[in-house]
């Protein structure tokens, strides 16, 4: 144990750099994913056919094994940080898109009618009624995406994008437990903390009226 601590002290620069790369890579990908998937999800409500098409495309991307997707990216985009980010971005789309779409569709028609009755425009209806109600579910999508992406960002090491996966791969190649742990522990912690913080945020954005029922959403 004390050996491991001194190992970490000795390699602290490498571990910190790798952690920061990992954070940029995964948060950047999820941020980009959310910036596309949320507007797309909003646009897709009421467009049944297009919605099914988009969901099945993103679903298929999600199905493709990560090493294979990194493999596809390599000949097209080359190696490094950017291609890895693109692959992770593609993976982040499905949970966010699906949750945005289904939560907006799930808003009770009575509430929408009430809004219309009050003379709201479509835009007002979206901003003041639909989005606030859908927000907790959208946040769940972002949380699930983030946890997955943090875990998958370890594969970015395969195409030279750095991150904590680098330490793990080095550990595997040299059969060195400390290197593996120095990559694995921060990754797991990062996933746990991110999940926890986003979970808190999810509860905070739940409209008070919905909180009373204590509805658990997944």
């Amino acid at each position: 144990m004390s050996d491991f601590v001194s190992f970490l002290q000795y390699n602290s620069d490498a571990v910190i750099t790798a952690t920061l790369q990992h954070v940029y890579l995964s948060f950047g990908a999820v941020f980009a994913g959310a910036s596309l998937a949320i507007p797309l999800g909003i646009w897709l409500t009421g467009r049944e056919k297009a919605a099914q098409a988009c969901l099945s495309v993103t679903g298929t991307i999600q199905t493709i094994p990560s090493l294979a997707l990194f493999g596809f990216a390599l000949p097209i985009l080359g190696i490094g940080f950017f291609p890895a980010m693109v692959v992770l971005f593609l993976y982040s789309l499905l949970p966010i898109l699906r949750n945005t779409y289904t939560s907006l569709k799930g808003v009770s028609p009575a509430l929408i009618e009430a809004g219309k009755g009050m003379g709201m425009s479509n835009c007002q209806l979206l901003v003041m009624v639909k989005l606030p109600l859908a927000l907790p579910v959208i946040m769940t999508g972002i949380r699930i995406s983030s946890i997955y992406i943090i875990s998958w960002a370890t594969f970015a090491a395969f195409i030279g994008a750095g991150g904590l996966g680098d330490l793990i791969v080095t550990g595997i190649q040299t059969m060195d437990l400390y290197f593996i742990l120095a990559g694995a522990i921060p990754t797991a912690l990062l996933a746990l903390v991110t999940g926890w913080v986003l979970g808190l945020l999810e509860r905070a954005v739940t409209p008070r009226g919905l909180r009373i029922y204590g509805v658990e959403r997944e």
Partner: protein, 205 residues
């Protein structure tokens, strides 16, 4: 070409063995914990934590214990497949309309009959959905098995990446992607086919 076919079969075998073993443990476990609330909480927490460990790290750590090779890969596939299978079995059985279970009891069914004749058939589509998620994930994780010396389609991809040989990469990546998609679609069909007819009718309404 032959080689790719062999690798694809090997890949499917490794993933399927992992998922089958997880089913052998996970389905009975999921059924048992529906009776004990505390055990359910503990099991879910443990499988949840297993899931947060990144796949690459899990493989690496297991490699330190079990050494290089297929066995280590299969062990990690079992650990990863447990969560969706246990969770869906548990949720599938608990989610059944209380009225139906009561009706069964009222007809004088024993616990075992209730399980076999009422609970399992109704929960089956949900359990299958868990197995589908587990298998697709397993096919994905099996591709990185190459790093710990396991077989399968990961090896052409990995060699291709190291030699920056696009053709070699694609010769592994394309069948791996197709295998995952085919398994996903196939099991989804099965899921729909296994939905009891009475439930399918309500779904259409």
């Amino acid at each position: 070409m032959d080689n790719i076919l062999l690798l694809t079969i090997e890949h499917l075998e490794l993933s399927a063995v992992g998922v089958l073993l997880a089913m052998a443990v996970g389905i009975p476990l999921g059924i048992i914990i529906t009776r004990y609330r505390l055990a359910a909480g503990i099991t879910m927490a443990v499988t949840d934590i297993l899931q947060t460990v990144p796949a690459l790290a899990m493989l690496a750590l297991l490699m330190m214990v079990f050494g290089l090779g297929d066995t280590t890969l299969v062990i990690s596939l079992v650990l990863y497949s447990l969560l969706p299978i246990v969770r869906n079995t548990y949720a599938g059985i608990l989610g059944i309309d209380k009225g139906l279970v009561e009706a069964g009891r009222g007809m004088g069914m024993t616990r075992l009959q209730l399980l076999r004749l009422v609970q399992l058939p109704i929960a089956l589509p949900v359990i299958l959905a868990g197995i589908r998620v587990a298998l697709v994930t397993a096919i994905g994780i099996a591709t990185i098995g190459v790093l710990i010396g396991a077989g399968g389609l990961g090896s052409p991809i990995w060699r291709g990446i190291q030699q920056t040989d696009a053709v070699l990469i694609l010769s592994g990546a394309v069948p791996a992607a197709l295998l995952a998609i085919v398994c996903d679609v196939g099991l989804e069909r099965l899921e729909r086919a296994m939905t009891p007819r009475g439930l399918r009718a309500t779904a259409h309404r």
